[in-house]
């Protein structure tokens, strides 16, 4: 059973912890202020603020975006050198940097705009905290840090059931729970 990170848009309050957790865990650039200001460093997990609607009807949401580790990953199909592959058992899409030629076909193919490129211009991205989990930690760094518990990690079946349980409870609340005792 493959594992995945579930992002709960209803819980994300846009605190940006996941983005820095990812930076620290993977020791990503920027390491200097100049690099930070140049806005060119790779970002494996990015928090986006999305504002929609006219004044008075506006909605503001936060999306924590990273690689979806697609089962039938367009980046894997597009990669001409086989640098990208998906490990069926773990569900991880991983990049072998020694095979990558930096052609950016993966960025063309990815429906989420995820692929990042470092100073060497080679592709890099989230690997679901491969090293961290091998070291015995239970969750990827972004999930473990999340203050709102908006990011969750687990088997997809488990994640789905947990979410449905929550939705079911909310549906009951929405109907006013009219069959409760006393009415």
């Amino acid at each position: 059973m493959s594992k995945a990170i579930y992002f709960d848009i209803d819980r994300c309050i846009g605190c940006f912890a996941c983005q820095s957790a990812c930076k620290q865990e993977n020791d990503l650039a920027p390491h200097t202020l100049e690099e930070a200001l140049s806005q060119t460093a790779p970002i494996w997990r990015r928090v986006m603020e999305v504002e929609q609607g006219d004044y008075g009807q506006e909605t503001v949401s936060y999306i924590s975006l990273s690689c979806m580790h697609c089962a039938d990953a367009p980046c894997v199909i597009a990669c001409p050198t086989g640098a990208l592959s998906r490990d069926k058992e773990s569900g991880r899409v991983v990049v072998n940097e020694s095979k990558c030629i930096g052609c950016k076909m993966c960025l063309q193919a990815c429906p989420f705009g995820i692929p990042q490129y470092g100073k060497d211009d080679l592709m890099q991205k989230c690997n679901l905290c491969l090293d961290r989990l091998q070291d015995g930690e239970a969750e990827p760094a972004c999930v473990a840090s999340c203050p709102a518990k908006a990011l969750r990690y687990g088997d997809t079946a488990e994640l789905s059931k947990k979410e449905q349980t929550k939705v079911a409870a909310r549906l009951v609340l929405a109907t006013g729970n009219k069959y409760s005792a006393g009415i």
Binding site: C15, K23, P30, H31, L33, L37
Partner: protein, 713 residues
């Protein structure tokens, strides 16, 4: 994994919320800073600030060793000196001033960055041993809210009972910014049907997730609170049992009279009146008030959004009264009072050395302060709560030449105080200035003769009991896991400087265990115990403690009518006072400066002016962006990303515009703490809350225009 990995539990100090951390060390060097899953307040969460702590250890912009100024003030030219020479220079300068003008001619200024528990007490100990008071500290924030609440129910309920709450009201508080590691409690509560309400001029982060969002004009929260009370009294939705038995206004006769026009302005605080002031429709105020009063278990979590205006303390009072009349004070699902520090040694801060006539008093609170009021202090309750000279008085003492030299630790007044130009002019009168800070700040550049490098939180060992959200009765030890060049902990700098000043008898050791044990003596908690156990609890979470012990206030009851305020001459019931500058209070100013220009926190990743040099977080928010409403932007011809110019009666500034509906029409939001886009060029420094001394520093009127493109010559 390669290398020898060890883990150390410590306490974060990136802000004052004090989350537990697990620091992973590889071959003895800090590798990762993570949350600690067994912390009951965080459940493993950590924020972007704590997660970037490792970069504090590698920041080339930090001050590495003591320096002395070699150019003129403002030139930013420094020369490395030894700790010994630095301390000797400061001590000689201070002792000379002391010999000629007395100890109070030296100002001891302290801010947030070093923390509020033990480090503040050590600073008090040093200043008091010298014979002087501590100055400013948090007179700028937080304590005004403490005063309003302490005078109402003799405590500060900062432990929201999230698990039992059925409504959580974030009032001027953005949990995504200042206490995100407790946000999971509120979101879990919502999953079981608890309503979330946000009262905020900015519609984003948690406010954008709220079930009810009230967009309020900045600075008018007091009007809303009074109108909510009006509806609750009018509809008879108040808790008769609690009010009649435990408050000094049984039947709410005084409050009712006050709300129905018995105040000195003869204003009837109806929702219709409040709608005109706050911009929130009267119907919405009524609906909110009724829902709040009929919901069992309501937490009202307030924040800095209520501050920086002249009505701050009365706003905190009105909200405190709201907690009382709805029966949510210290009740299940409401806001609980917890013991906020272990029993502290009343003699630790050497209060008798600034005021020999008063015996040490024994009680537990945040700040162990002298029980008297210095003659130069015009805000006795501010002094009583924090033991520091209020900002306006402290500034006067410099301006009139009473204070001639000073040490500024853990704060940056030249950037963070309102009316930057005037602050610089006044503080430049100080003949000698020492600054203690991890960085060379604007304050150092413009004023300092000597700058001492302060350690950041991974570089110091000290006890920590202070917290912010979900203030829980335990104390932990912050543990040193790294060193940075010659930087030293703030408390150790106090020890060394005190010794250089000839006060060694009060600072006989450089061992943290000595001071920890001395401060905690009456509690029985020891340094040894803290270093072994990590958590030491000194209290329980209990409901309705007033049933046993009453309220430590005049009459032994909760003071809806404040006896203390009445004695001093403040309004004993919260009377509405308009902000110092807005369209109603200063309509003539509004003609020329039509926009409400307000400030506050710079985002989830920054505290005050801190963190701007840390690459991981600077990348997320590289520059200051003012929020400009879409409709205003259209009228003024401003597009997203344009530079705009903001002008107030006091000054002007330039900043890049973010065109958005997060901010309301007619308002502009300028995030605080950015040196190159400094709101304090505009802000009001000379209008004060009469109770707390807080200046009206977060809101003023301004004109906004698109900035002319600068032509390069």
């Amino acid at each position: 994994m390669n290398g020898n990995v060890t883990e150390v539990l410590t306490v974060c100090g990136a802000c004052t919320n004090s989350c537990s951390l697990k620091v992973k060390l590889k071959d003895g060097k800090v590798d990762k800073v993570e949350g600690y899953a067994k912390d009951p307040r965080t459940k493993g969460a950590i924020c972007s600030k704590g997660l970037s702590a490792k970069q504090m250890l590698q920041d080339p912009r930090r001050l590495k060793y003591p320096v002395k100024r070699v150019g003129e003030r403002g030139e930013n030219k420094w020369e490395r000196i030894s700790w010994e020479e630095a301390l000797k220079t400061i001590a000689e300068a201070f002792n000379k001033v002391k010999a000629e003008h007395g100890p109070r001619a030296v100002g001891f200024y302290n801010g947030q960055a070093s923390g509020w528990g033990f480090p503040y007490q050590m600073y008090e100990r040093m200043a008091h041993a010298f014979g002087a008071d501590v100055s400013w500290g948090t007179s700028e924030c937080f304590v005004p809210r403490v005063i309003g609440q302490a005078m109402t129910y003799a405590g500060v309920p900062m432990f929201p009972d999230y698990e039992k709450a059925n409504m959580i009201v974030y009032w001027g508080r953005q949990p995504a910014f200042s206490s995100s590691t407790q946000s999971h409690f509120a979101l879990d509560a919502r999953d079981r049907g608890c309503k979330i309400v946000a009262i905020d001029p900015l519609h984003f982060h948690m406010a954008a997730k709220a079930d009810r969002y009230l967009r309020i004009e900045p600075g008018t929260d007091l009007a809303l609170a009074l109108a909510v009370l009006y509806v609750i009294v009018e509809k008879d939705l108040w808790d008769h049992e609690f009010v009649d038995n435990y408050t000094n206004d049984p039947g709410l006769s005084k409050l009712r009279d006050h709300l129905w026009g018995g105040n000195s302005d003869q204003i009837v605080y109806t929702p219709e009146w409040a709608a005109e002031v706050t911009g929130i429709p009267a119907k919405e105020i009524r609906s909110f008030a009724e829902e709040l009063a009929t919901t069992k278990g309501v937490c009202i979590i307030t924040g800095h959004g209520l501050e920086g205006r002249i009505n701050v303390t009365q706003t905190a009072r009105a909200i405190a009264i709201l907690r009382l009349v709805t029966g949510n004070f210290d009740a299940p699902g409401g806001d609980l009072v917890t013991t906020m520090s272990p029993k502290l040694n009343a003699e630790f801060t050497l209060n008798h050395m600034v005021n020999p006539d008063e015996p040490p008093r024994e009680f537990v609170e945040f700040f162990n302060v002298p029980q008297y009021n210095p003659p130069e202090c015009h805000y006795p309750l501010l002094y009583a709560m924090q033991g520091c000279m209020p900002t306006p008085d402290a500034m006067d003492l410099v301006e009139n030449g009473t204070v001639k030299a000073g040490i500024i630790q853990a704060c940056n007044p030249l950037l963070m105080f309102p009316n930057a130009a005037k602050v610089k002019e006044i503080l430049s009168k100080l003949e000698f200035v020492a600054v203690v800070d991890p960085y060379i700040t604007e304050t150092s550049i413009q004023l300092a003769d000597i700058v001492l490098p302060a350690a950041m939180f991974l570089e110091k060992t000290e006890p920590e009991y202070f917290q912010y959200d979900r203030f829980s009765p335990y104390i932990r030890l912050r543990k040193q896991v790294a060193t940075f060049e010659e930087a030293l902990p703030d408390w150790l700098i106090c020890v060394k400087l005190a010794n250089a000043l000839g006060l060694g008898e009060y600072f006989p050791s450089e061992d943290i265990a000595y001071y920890t044990d001395l401060m905690l003596k009456p509690s029985g908690i020891t340094y040894e115990q803290l270093s072994k156990e990590f958590w030491v609890w000194f209290g329980e979470i209990e409901y309705r403690k007033y049933q046993k012990s009453g309220f430590a206030l005049p009459g032994g009851k909760a003071n809806i009518f404040s006896e203390v305020f009445a004695q001093i001459g403040y309004d004993p019931l919260p009377r509405f006072v308009e902000g110092a500058e807005n369209r109603r209070s200063t309509p003539d100013v509004a003609k020329e400066y039509p926009f409400i220009c307000f400030t506050g926190r710079p985002g989830p990743m920054y505290v005050h002016d801190q963190g701007r040099t840390l690459p991981w977080i600077r990348e997320m928010r590289p520059e200051a962006l003012a929020m400009v409403n879409t409709l205003d932007a259209e009228k003024q011809g401003i597009q997203d990303g344009d530079m705009i110019e903001l002008t107030s009666l006091r000054g002007k500034m330039k900043i890049k515009a973010h065109v958005t509906n997060i901010v309301s029409e007619g308002s502009v939001y300028v995030p605080g703490g950015w040196p190159d886009a400094n709101y304090n060029e505009l802000s009001i420094d000379d209008k004060f809350c009469p109770i707390s001394s807080q200046a009206n520093y977060t809101s003023c009127l301004a004109q906004m225009t698109k900035a002319e493109k600068e032509v390069l010559s």
